[in-house]
């Protein structure tokens, strides 16, 4: 603090007497360096949740979108970035102010009916999504001829080691490392030499390739579904609490979430650029199918995409399984921090292991209805997402709970618009999944 005052006086004096450009620059350098140091210490939950949002299902959606419409829907993803940021930013404020996870906040504010509904729905969705992450990971590694059971074992072991080392900080840094692996899509896009003018046009000029019909509507809704998921809200709020973030850290948490949102949009756009350049018009149904097709195009391309798909599934898996365990811990009153040792929090880690192992085992069952599970996840998510978004908005308007951090009128206007739009579109998406001919 004293140093800061000294630097301010120095900078002010320099300005007043027209001397000392170097001290002034040094002062700004010190300010930026200090800000950056604090940001690096506080950042994590936002970047992790946003990058993990591009999970195996997300990468599949982007790959298929690119193969179907080329660069034509990149603008839509760019629009989704601020929407995702806006929702997740509210969880940062809620977690930092209340020091409670989202599940506990719902129980406390809205009672046991909505509390149990949210918890049970979350557990079901998270577990089913975890199964889809394992489907993505096993499919990605099968490209390298690694049998599914080996993938499941390795992933389960690595996931266990990550949480058992006993520190949230270490878990977060390892997760950030895996977030970095997601950047693999960037060289992929450069390898395929996309049309820069085409990409810019797709990114900046909104349009619906082939007109606004039921097919494109389905893709728009699928992209929303992969960008905003219920588990993200539970995860980030609990991560903010476990990290010990305070009201004073909120600005850094917001930047963290903003950087994450930029990353998620950027990486999704790069996946679309890759498949939109090389596989446009090819009937692709999944990301691993796209990877196989791309191996024939360039020796590294398919491999990079498969590594990215595995990483996406892994990041999704580590976040989703933790979101469930944190929620259980909050409600049942178990010790539920990654800073706890296994002896101190046996139920917390126990629920984590059960989720991981059972989800992994489902993928290994011969003839398991994996496609049905993937579709079911998207449908059932619609039952929780509106509830969670409504609760989030209501909680952020509770003056007694949030104090000076409650939503302003402007924030509420945007929030209500986003919530109503998402609820409408995600419901229509669920209906179109259940009744494929409903909008034709």
């Amino acid at each position: 603090m004293q140093e800061e005052i000294k630097a301010k006086v120095l900078a002010g004096g320099a300005r007043r007497y027209g001397i000392g450009v170097i001290p002034r620059l040094y002062y700004y350098y010190r300010r930026v360096a200090k800000w950056l140091a604090i940001f690096l210490a506080i950042s994590g939950p936002g970047i992790i949740v946003m990058v993990a949002d591009n999970d195996a299902g997300g990468i599949t959606t982007y790959a298929v979108t690119g193969a179907r419409y080329g660069y034509g829907l990149i603008w839509f993803l760019i629009l989704l970035g601020p929407v995702a940021y806006y929702i997740q930013e509210m969880t940062v404020r809620l977690g930092a102010v209340t020091k409670r996870g989202h599940a506990e906040a719902i129980f406390e504010s809205f009672g046991i009916f909505w509390g149990w509904f949210s918890l049970c729905d979350l557990v079901l969705i998270d577990w089913l999504t975890l199964v889809t992450e394992f489907i993505g990971m096993t499919a990605a590694l099968s490209i390298f001829h690694i049998p599914p059971f080996v993938t499941v074992i390795i992933v389960s072991v690595v996931m266990s080691i990550m949480v058992l080392q006993g520190r949230y900080w270490t878990w977060e840094k390892i997760a950030l490392l895996f977030c970095g692996v997601n950047l693999i899509y960037i060289p992929c896009a450069f390898i395929v030499h996309p049309s820069v003018s085409g990409v810019m046009q797709g990114a900046l000029i909104p349009g619906f390739p082939g007109g606004l019909n039921s097919d494109i509507f389905f893709f728009l809704m699928a992209n929303i579904g992969t960008t905003i998921a219920p588990w993200m809200i539970f995860f980030q709020q609990s991560a903010v609490v476990d990290k010990g973030m305070d009201e004073k850290d909120i600005p850094f948490g917001k930047v963290d979430t903003f950087v994450g949102a930029m990353f998620t949009v950027l990486l999704a756009a790069f996946v679309i650029i890759v498949t939109g350049t090389v596989l446009k018009g090819v009937p692709i149904e999944s990301a691993d199918q796209a990877s196989r097709a791309l191996i024939g195009v360039h020796k590294y391309l398919g491999t990079f995409l498969a590594i990215g798909l595995f990483d996406a599934g892994f990041l999704g898996a580590i976040c989703i399984s933790l979101a469930t365990s944190w929620a259980f811990g909050e409600i049942f009153g178990w010790a539920h921090s990654l800073n706890n040792k296994i002896k101190e929090a046996p139920w917390f880690y126990g629920s984590y292991f059960i989720a991981v192992i059972t989800a992994g085992m489902v993928v290994l069952i011969p003839g398991a209805p994996l496609v049905m599970i993937t579709l079911f996840v998207q449908v059932i998510a619609v039952t929780l997402l509106p509830a969670v978004l409504v609760f989030l908005t209501l909680l952020l308007n509770d003056a007694e709970l949030m104090g000076e951090y409650k939503n302003t009128l402007f924030q509420n206007t945007i929030s209500v618009m986003i919530v109503v739009t998402i609820i409408t579109l995600s419901t229509l998406y669920a209906v179109s999944l259940l009744f494929p001919n409903a909008f034709k």
Binding site: E108, I112, W114, G115, F332, A387, A430, L434, F435
Partner: protein
């Protein structure tokens, strides 16, 4: 096993007691939002149930 279930049933009862009274003030807006949410979920469950029956019949 019996102890396990007993412990967890007691825990659930304890949770139900702890959160029996919602802390949020039920303003008109909050009440309306929760009512709309209930109606929405009932309709959605109805659609899911209808689909389930259609699959069974098919």
């Amino acid at each position: 096993m019996r102890e396990f279930f007993k412990y967890h049933f007691n825990k659930i009862r304890e949770i139900n007691r702890k959160y029996a009274k919602p802390r949020a003030t039920m303003t008109k807006g909050t009440g309306l939002a929760l009512l709309i949410l209930r109606v929405y979920l009932i309709i959605l469950m109805g659609i899911l149930f209808f689909k389930f029956i259609t699959i069974l019949k098919g």
